[in-house]
Symmetry: none
Subunit: 223 residues, 2 copies
Amino acid sequence: MRENLSQQTAQRLYARIVAEKRLRPGDKLPNEVELSAQLGVSRATLREAIRTLAARGVLEVRRGRGTFVSARVEEIEDFGFGALEGVRGQLRDLFELRAIFEPQAAALACARADDRELADILDRGRAVEDCIRAGRDRTKADWEFHAAIVRATHNEFMTRLLPLIGQAVGTAVASGGHGARLAQDTLRDHALLMEFLERRDGAGAQHAMAIHMRHAMDEMDLQ
Amino acid sequence: MRENLSQQTAQRLYARIVAEKRLRPGDKLPNEVELSAQLGVSRATLREAIRTLAARGVLEVRRGRGTFVSARVEEIEDFGFGALEGVRGQLRDLFELRAIFEPQAAALACARADDRELADILDRGRAVEDCIRAGRDRTKADWEFHAAIVRATHNEFMTRLLPLIGQAVGTAVASGGHGARLAQDTLRDHALLMEFLERRDGAGAQHAMAIHMRHAMDEMDLQ
DNA sequence: ACGCAATAGTTATCAGACAACTTTTGCATT
DNA sequence: AATGCAAAAGTTGTCTGATAACTATTGCGT
């Protein structure tokens, strides 16, 4: 183990809530003295663990009353913490968000991209095509294509969503996407999309991107 | 002040990073003994504050080396901590994202909300109406209405966007939204929206929400 | 039945000590 | 002078035990 005791403790507590279900939403935790004894750590360490979970919205601390499991733990679910299980559900949610978000981003990009940005988008699109035709891995190229489109919206908050989307793409690949079928669809979808982008036809690009998202979700048996 | 000292301390530290810029991304904080003396709190309290910020990705603690401001603070900041100084540009970006996102969320909510969730949404909608008619501040009620809708999508990542939306609402109010005109629009928009929600008419709810977003943006001279 | 003070249960904060890890320093050996 | 290694300095990690402050309940007197 290389992690802090306090972080380990946070994970153990978290496991009691989401995995073991010994603690359910709304439940009250034992008081700090007792709980720290149960877990075999000092009260100070336990409190640091509690702070970590409280910052994530998993626990709610009420002075004089006790510490409680947040009523909406399930919806807060965060990465890097508990288990990669449920990836499938996360993946569906993530693609659902993309399916809403990226077609509109494509439309906005048509309206707002300057010439250099548009050229950049098209370059990256061609790079993806090359990868597919050459049979190389296209994960990175594909991601950069989508990222370039979103950046061209000139919307700060959309750009902030990029890392989230990057994770979606990464997970999708890891869980066995990228069949031959998807590759062919992607080739067609991108051609369509780039045609509209080049003409700065926002409505067209929006629909082309929507189709692209649908294909991706179908191929992965989402929705 | 009713907040914990440790939470207050977290906010003071956070302010040093994003507002005062006394600490920039990558910087090393003073060691814990010195910093706790500077801030006038015990080391234990400071450590709890650090845990809170570390959980949010603002700080990175490296044993034996020190505590550092995360290199990517700017990108991470979504949570409702400080820094409302997003000015007009951010506000436009934020509402643009909402305008894309919330209508679709409303449509999804129609399809997926269980009866209790739907009742909850309608309750909160009525609470907003009451606030407007009574001339009370409706900020909180309004946010809870929108939050209830988004939660009913049962989509984890949409729920994650909630804090962002909360910030949008907060900033909008702070920068002088909430004119009499907007109040009247909101009253009508919500009535329309709730009518469709109650009937679980997804397409209708989607358009009603889109109209609501447009009104809000118009009133604030965005777009 | 009511009001209110005492009490029990709980989190909040402090102080000081020692352990463990990382980087720098300085010295001995080659 | 260069190298390697041990000591030291700087830092976070953890523990202990005490006291303060807040909340809800209990029980008593009226």
